[in-house]
C-alpha cells in the first residue's frame, strides 16, 4: 500500500521563513551594533537596537513554536538521533559532499518518512536548535533582564559573559546560515530544496 506524507507542512514552512527573516535582520543589526562607527554605520544604532530587540523576540517565539510543534506532531521524529553507526553515516555523507558530489554520485541518504535529513544535516540542525539557539536566546534575554544577572562575574561586568557568548554564537550561526543556504543548492537540482521549503514536498512510500 502506498502512503503519501508532507515533508514540509505549512507550520514548518512558516516557521522556517520567519526564522530566515529574523536571522537576516538579527545578523545585519547585530553586526551594525557590534562594529558601530560614528558616521559609518550600516544601520543607525537606535534603529538597529529596536529591530534587534523585536526580531529577537520573534526568534524566541519561533523557537517555542518549533519545540511545541515537534513535541505534539510527527516532525520531531527527524530530530531523534540514532547514535548506532552515526560516525560511519556522517563520514559517508561528508565523503559525498567532499568527493561524490563532483562525480555525480547519488545522495547516500535520500529523504524517508522517518529521516528527511541526512546525518550531517540532522546533527547540525540538532546542535543549532537545541544547543546554539537556546544559548543565543538566553544570552540575548540577559540584556532584557539584566537585573537578574550578577553585577560582577570574575571581576567583570556580569553582562560581559553573556555579551561575548551572544557574539560568538551569533558568528557561528551566521556561518551556519551561509553553509545552510549553499547546501540547499546541493539537492537533486540547484533550486529544488528552496522550492520544497516554499511550496512543500510530498513523499510517497510503499508501506509494508
Amino acid at each position: 500500500m502506498k502512503t503519501t506524507i508532507e515533508l514540509y507542512p505549512t507550520w514548518i514552512r512558516v516557521w522556517h521563513w520567519s526564522n530566515a527573516l529574523s536571522f537576516l535582520i538579527l545578523i545585519a543589526t547585530g553586526f551594525s551594533m557590534h562594529f558601530a562607527t560614528p558616521g559609518a554605520y550600516l544601520i543607525p544604532f537606535n534603529t538597529a537596537r529596536l529591530l534587534h530587540n523585536f526580531f529577537g523576540i520573534v526568534l524566541v517565539c519561533g523557537w517555542l513554536i518549533f519545540v511545541f510543534g515537534n513535541l505534539r506532531g510527527t516532525n520531531g521524529i527527524h530530530y531523534r538521533l540514532r547514535l548506532t553507526g552515526l560516525f560511519r553515516r556522517l563520514l559517508t555523507q561528508a565523503l559525498f559532499y567532499g568527493v561524490g558530489i563532483f562525480r555525480g554520485a547519488h545522495h547516500p541518504f535520500p529523504a524517508t518518512r522517518d529521516a528527511k535529513f541526512n546525518p550531517l544535516q540532522q546533527v547540525t540542525y540538532w546542535g543549532v536548535m537545541f544547543g546554539a539557539i537556546p544559548l543565543l536566546i538566553l544570552s540575548g534575554l540577559a540584556f532584557f533582564f539584566h537585573d537578574w544577572i550578577p553585577e560582577q562575574v570574575l571581576g567583570m561586568d556580569g553582562l560581559m559573559i553573556s555579551g561575548v557568548l551572544h557574539y560568538v554564537i551569533g558568528v557561528f550561526l551566521t556561518a551556519f546560515m551561509i553553509g545552510h543556504i549553499y547546501l540547499a543548492t546541493a539537492g537533486e537540482t540547484v533550486f529544488g530544496e528552496f522550492k520544497k521549503m516554499l511550496f512543500g514536498a510530498t513523499l510517497t512510500e510503499e508501506k509494508s
Binding site: A36, T37, F102, R103, G155, M156, L159, G163, V164
Partner: protein, 341 residues
Amino acid sequence: MKRIQSIQVRGAVSGHLLPGQLPGSILVMNTSMRRHLPLLLATLAFLSTTTVQAESGQEAGCMRCHSMKTLAYLDSKTGGVRNLSIDPDAMARSDHKKLGCRSCHGAGFEVYPHFKEARLERLECLNCHKENIDFPHELFESIERSFERSVHFQTLPDSFTCFSCHDPHDFRSLSKQPNEELTTVVARDNGVCRRCHDTPNEIYSKTGRKFSPLVATHAWLPEAERHWDNVRCVECHTGPKSNRSHFILGRNDAVRACEACHSQNSLLVAKLYRHRLREEKRSGTLTNSSVMNNAYVIGLTRHPWLDWGGIALIVMTFLGVTGHGLARWLFTRRDPHENHH
C-alpha cells in the same frame, strides 16, 4: 506668624553667604521646618559627635566648629540653609588634603568670631591653579575658556562659579583615582549634576526656571538609569570632539548619537576611561583591560581577537562554499552526463 529671617550659629557669619560656600548645599525648607529650625540646628550642633580631625594648630581650631555636621545658617536671600560643615574624612581624601585652611581662606578667618572682612572674601580656584607653576597653566586656561562657553556660565554669568559644582573640601580629580571603582566615581560625579538637576526646587531657587524631571528629559535614552549608573553626565553633555569636561552643553547641543559611545573609537575612551587607559599604557598591562573590566558597552567592549576570529570564520565559510560551488559547476560542465549516472 513671625518669619525667621536669619539664624546665627556659633562659628558662622550671620545671615551672609561666605564666598566659597557651596550653593549646592542649600536645603530648601517648608514653613514648619523653618519654625523649628533654630532649635533643631542648635540641638544637633551640640549633640554632634563628629570627631575633630587631628590636625595641627590652626586647622584643628577651624575644624572644631566646621567638622560639625549641622553647622549651618539660614540664608535670607534664598530661604535655604547654608551649610558650613566640612566632612574631615572627605577632606582627608580630597586633592586638597595637604592644604591648610588658611592656604585658601584669608586673614578674616584668622580668629573666631571671624572678622567682617571674611564676608568680603572672594575665593577663585584659578588664583592658585592658573598662576602656580605647580599646575599646567595651559590646562587651566583651557578649563577657564571651556567654562566660559558652558551653558551654565552663559545662563548664569554672575552667580555660577567653580564652587557651584566643585566642593574644594571634597574634590577629587578623575585622573587621581585610578583604582577606585568606576561606578563610585560616576555616582559621585553625577551626584554633582543631579544635586541641582534632579531637585526641582533647588534649580528653581537658582534660576527661577522650572526644569522637567531628568527621567522626562531623558525619556529618549534607553535604559537611562543604567546609563547614569555607569557613565557620567558629562560624557554626553560636553563636546563630542573634546575631553574638556567644563564645556557643558545644554540639552539641544548634547551628544545624542548612540554610536558616539557605542563604538571602538568611543567618547568613553577619550573621557571616562582616559586616565585609566593612559595608566595601562604606562604600566604595560593588557591592552584594553580598562574597557573590558568595566561595564559591558555594546560596540565598545570588543576584543580584537574575537573580532578578527569572527570575521575570519565568516570569510572562510564564504570562500569555502564559493570554492565548493565553483568546483561543482566545473565538474558538471566537464561531464554534463555524469550527473545522470
